[in-house]
Structure formats: C-alpha cells, structure tokens
Amino acid sequence: MRADECRIWRERIGALVLGQLDGDERTATEAHLDGCPECRAEAAALAPVAAMLSRADPERLTPAPAPPAYLGDRIARRIAAERRVARRRHVRLGLALGAVAAAATAAVLIAVVASGPSSAPSETVAFRALPNDASAQATLEPRPWGTAVNVRVRGFRPGTLCTVWLRLANGVKVTAGSFRYVYDGESDEAGLSAAVAPGDATEIGLRAGSKTFVAPLPPDSAATSSVQ
C-alpha cells in the first residue's frame, strides 16, 4: 500500500525507535503509524534492536582480535594426543610373585588403562584363578607436564616398597615415583607422575619388594597385547 508515501515515514522509524525525533516530526510519524499496520510492524521489529544497541560500547568497535594462527593446530594436536591415549589398552603380564605376596603363588596383572574421554570404563580381567591374587593396575593420563600415573595394587604384603617407572624407546627410564603398599580398605591408589608424554613411553615397570614387573605400552593404542 502507498509504497512511496510509506517510504518517507519508514525512514523515520529508525530515528523514532532510537528516540531521536523531536516534537512535531515525532507526532507526525506516530500518527502515520497509528494508521499504517505495516509501518507499525516495522517499528515493533526494530524496537528491540534499538534496545540492544544501547549495550554496545563505542570504544570497543575496533576490529575484533583474531585468534593467533597457531591456535587451531595446537588444538588439533592436543586432541590427537588425547585420542591416542583415550583408546583403552590392556597389557597383561602374568608372573609368579613368590617373595612379594604372602601366598606361594600369585599373579600380577598390570592393566594399562588410559581413562580418556571416549573410552569405555576400565576393565580388568583376571586371567588365572589363584589362591591369593595380587594385582596391579596403572592408569596413564596425559598432562601438560607429562603423564599422571595412578597405580593401584592389591595383595602385596603390607609395607612393600613399590617403585614405578616409564621407559622410553631409547631405553631411558623415567621414574614415576614410589610408595609403600598399605591397604586400608579405601585409599589404595598411589598418584604418581612422570615427565614424559604417555605416547613416548614404551614400557611401564613396577618393582615391588625384590620383584620387578614390566608391561609394554603398545605404540598402537588400539592394540591389545599380552605377555605371559
């Protein structure tokens, strides 16, 4: 309707909703809106925009800073690193414990479970029925400074000194820490740490008392290997 006539009024709607029209012009524009549903609708559509506009700080309108170019690659690398360890890995190692455990024969089960975001809950499978099971389970999680190694052992003689390390491909042993096994029914997990990325370690070792147990960390995270 009356497109040409409305055009003149319409261009005043912006100033109207921003409260920029003075006396007569404002009255005249409002009078037009009263009789013109289209222009009224346009004013109603722009009013919330005018309200929003007041939120802007004119000093902050310089071009928004762009993220640095390296950030995208850095995030991609972090995700790739997490994915590598996120896949659940089981490494089984069966050994006679002898002097370590009170029982004559027991077994150590070292399950390396990367508790990543997309992995299923960790799962440890006993591979041999034993009268007195000893078990050790390590969880490796990537950290900015290296690897968090949480070790949970069971079935050792109380007071047994345990040391844990990760071995690199070049043979270098990086200590993760030591603890004494004292099972009090609750806090039987030792939080250790090693200054290597989980992906760089090829082997995890546990020395309990006079016995040493090692389990390879497969480079292909999806692989499951077992050593008897």
């Binding site: 925009v49 506009l53 950030l71």
Partner: protein, 164 residues
C-alpha cells in the same frame, strides 16, 4: 565433532567469535587462547552430548566457553597475585557481557556508513546536524542511514543466532 574434520570445521566457523568474546571477557590474549583451546577440547570430549535439535553448534560452543571462563575466573581468584592488578573476571554478569559483545560484533559486521551513523548519533549522542556536516551529507541522509543501519543490525544479530 567426533572426528578431527568436525573439530576443524567447527574451529574454522566459530573460533573467531569465541576468541573475540573471550578477549572481551578476559582482556588477556593468553587467557583467551587458553579459553578457546579448552572450549574445543571440552567440546570434543563431550561430542556425544551435542544434540543439534536442542540448539546450534554455535550456541553449544558458547555455553561451553561460558563454563570455561567461569572456571578460569575461579582459578585466578584463588591464585596469589604478584603486584600487578589482574583484570576482574565475572564482575559483570556473564549474560550481560555476552549480549554486549554480540551487539558490538553485529555492529562490526554491518557497513561502515551504517555503523558510523549509529555510533555517532546514538551511542555518542551527537546531533544529526553535526554528524551530517562532518560527513558532508544532508541530515535526511543521516536519518535514512540510521533506519537502514538498524535493519542491517537486526539481520546481523539474527545471523548470529540472537532471537530478540
């Protein structure tokens, strides 16, 4: 989001806005990078929980960024400071900062002529006559640009997902 490609696409589409907002909120390039990185890492970890039927990817990423910024603010509040004043995080309600930033971002996206008249006549409250003289155009042109500027601003806000 579960594949690298998904993350890369999401990053290409939204990292600029997320970073811009993180900078607006945190006022520190290092913290803003950290916030954007955490946002995409958390998004990747929680990709299973993203439901496009509940909202856009952009909205979801901003919701994650919101939590990241709140966590950063908490961490900083408990960290001892050495001498220098750190900018306050979260002294303005987050939703307010987000809305303010959205309008500023929308203003950046509209044409220079439109932005200029909205900023000068409305945000800086200068008379039409003064702005018209400065730009060398009639006052009626300023009025018309204010109108088309508001329309452009509405479109820009809608493109950014604002439903006012």
């Amino acid at each position: 989001m579960t594949h690298d490609v998904g993350v890369r696409e999401a990053y290409a589409a939204h990292s600029g806005e997320l970073y811009g907002f993180a900078m607006r909120s945190l006022e520190d390039p290092g913290l803003a990078e950290e916030a954007v990185q955490d946002t995409f890492l958390r998004a990747w970890r929680a990709a299973d929980r993203f439901d496009p039927e509940l909202g856009s990817l952009r909205t979801w990423l901003f919701a994650i960024l919101r939590n990241v910024i709140i966590d950063l603010g908490r961490a900083r509040a408990t960290r001892p400071t050495l001498g220098g004043e750190l900018p306050d995080v979260g002294h303005e309600p987050f939703e307010d900062v987000l809305l303010n930033w959205q309008v500023e971002e929308a203003l950046r996206r509209i044409g220079e002529q439109h932005r200029r008249v909205l900023v000068e006549t409305y945000l800086r409250g200068r008379p039409y006559a003064e702005v018209a003289a400065e730009l060398g155009v009639p006052e009626g042109t300023i009025k018309s640009r204010v109108y088309y500027g508001l329309r452009a601003l509405r479109n820009a806000l809608e493109e950014m997902g604002y439903e006012g």
